[in-house]
Symmetry: C2
Subunit: 361 residues, 2 copies
């Protein structure tokens, strides 16, 4: 029997090396040994993300890091612009509303991205916005947004607004450099291209975001970004951290360094391209044809094929797990994750399975 | 060389069986397989804690579960009574203040517990309190508080007040039955007697706490207890959960069932007793002499011995890690964790090391 192949857009396959590195029974988070490990991990992330400050690690899912960022660098009650084109964009909106921010939204269709002219209009009409929140890659649709352009527009029209970029499904699949992008908060998670189990997330901050940390009174206690930022300067966390995943992250960063980030990003671009052309050949219709992300591809199956049945067959007959649609796309699409520890052979295996399922129906 | 022995009050030693059970690369949290695992875990916890509802799992440290509980079942702005006698009691106060609750406190000395008469007075003077927050065992001092008595006093004098019990260092070291105690929220964490890495916590709720969940508008988004409670009824989590630790928790609960909870609790009582009498024999002075917890023992070293130097020697020469003091006890005490995967041989090894360090000075 074939081993199980996980091709979902998070969680992703955890390589043996990382599984071994996570076996740290006996490691205490207040020990010198752990502090050293912690600072190695944050400086490794800092290098990968091109930031001036060590990213802040949060024990929690990516959503926790989104909330810590928003509440940490933007004063509650301020007006924020959310750009949404999928389930995770909606999460920014829902979160901002729940936390008491004034919400302005720009919505684009699932699978598409935002028109720069529309963004410009929203910014011009709302000179008092204090933050723009969006996704680099929208995991629910497989779309990539033009982060550099959105940030540059924001910095031009509303220079006081911070840009908060959920890069959870982007980091490790393409170059994400906070300084080059000019973003103020860059959010990542463990269970995507970093090849780790879920339960750890992080936030990289710009200089001015660090300044805002000092000024903003976050309503959060556990997710208080200022407290974590200060505490982590010397390798201590405010609360007991996810020690095993942090130990795994050190190994993940080492693996990326060994392959070199450039080759890792190239591999993702090639896997994404192969997935897209393979799907099109089989008669699938890509959801984000115009703006495809390097880490995940979403597509409508050919006429007569039910997306969820296809997924179930793949899982049952071929031990390959892909994802389905979320929100209003539930039951309508399939999503293939090709990020992290994924190689051309895995995509070949996926397409052999697709072909056999489709030809045998 | 001796293998490293971790005798800190969390994190604790992770048994091989659990390490293996946590290797779940390929397990997706939206799969039927995971939902089944999740419901097995929550019903196992439910059985262990004697509650009517499945406990809610939170991906985060114990502090995250404390915050989710407080903000989830008590309306912000309400008056809460915090009983504090150590660092974790102070954490309740700090958290309640940060979240916008009106704070009434009863403080006891580090190492001691609360006088029932004083509790009664606070309750009588504050008939409008909506919650009483305290620890079952105070990890920073090794003291146990009389949870049953405190809850019974609260229910008698201020029957509308909920009781929120941080049982992080208690669960798995002694019988903690939410129904018998009459508590409304019981908070636990992974990295104590449950023998797991940190990064997962949970909250068990009483019937009326579940009712309050519906009425209270929690300001939290990620730590929104109502959302998690509802979502988890069918084994789904609101956010991506700490899959690997949840898989480990299933194994931990199986290990406790195999040994039987009664024997696990008896083992903890015996380890605690052996630790206390051993320390006294060596001239240590117990910090919580009158109210010692079964999972952790804190003590002042004999005259002329520096607590931190003793700890460092133990670590360097004998590869045994114990903890030091926290807060105002920093540098003054040692704390020995004897919870989870700890057996009489480990305590023997600790005392051989103590004796050799003390006699060789």
């Amino acid at each position: 029997m074939n081993t199980k192949l996980l091709l979902t857009p998070g969680p992703t396959t955890i390589p043996e090396r990382i599984t071994e590195a996570m076996q740290v029974s006996g490691l205490h988070h207040r020990s010198q040994e752990f502090k050293k490990l912690f600072l190695e991990v944050t400086s490794g992330l800092k290098e990968l993300l091109g930031c001036a400050h060590n990213p802040v690690l949060i024990t929690g899912s990516g959503t926790a890091a989104m909330e810590a960022s928003l509440a940490g660098v933007v004063p509650v009650g301020a007006k924020v612009l959310v750009l949404r084109a999928g389930k995770f964009g909606e999460r920014w909106s829902e979160m901002a509303a729940r936390l008491g921010f004034k919400l302005v939204e720009l919505e684009a269709e699932y699978g598409s991205t935002f028109s720069p002219a529309e963004i410009e209009k929203r910014l011009l009409n709302n000179p008092d916005i204090k933050a723009v929140c969006f996704q680099y890659c929208e995991t629910s649709t497989g779309a990539i947004h033009n982060a550099a352009e959105i940030i540059s527009l924001t910095n031009k029209i509303t220079p006081d607004a911070l840009t908060l970029l959920d890069a959870i499904t982007a980091i490790g699949t393409l170059e994400v450099n906070i300084s080059e992008l000019g973003a103020d908060a860059l959010i990542g998670g463990s269970q995507k291209a970093l090849m780790l189990p879920p339960g750890l997330s992080f936030v990289a901050l710009s200089d001015r975001a660090v300044q805002m940390l000092e000024q903003v009174e976050s309503p959060a206690y556990y997710l208080n970004l200022r407290r974590e930022f200060k505490s982590q300067l010397d390798g201590s966390t405010a609360w007991t951290p996810a020690i095993s995943i942090i130990a795994g992250l050190k190994e993940a960063l080492a693996m990326i360094r060994e392959e070199t980030p450039e080759r890792v990003f190239m591999r993702h671009a090639q896997l994404a391209e192969a997935t897209r052309s393979g799907l099109k050949e089989l008669g699938f219709k890509l959801l984000a044809e115009e703006c495809p992300a390097p880490g995940v591809t979403a597509a409508f199956p050919p006429a007569g094929i039910n997306a969820d049945e296809l997924r179930m067959k793949l899982l049952k007959e071929d031990h390959i797990q892909i994802a389905g649609g979320q929100g209003k796309l539930k039951g309508k699409i399939i999503r293939v994750g090709h990020m992290g520890y994924v190689f051309p052979g895995d995509i070949c295996r996926l397409f052999e399975a697709f072909e056999s399922v489709i030809s045998n129906r």
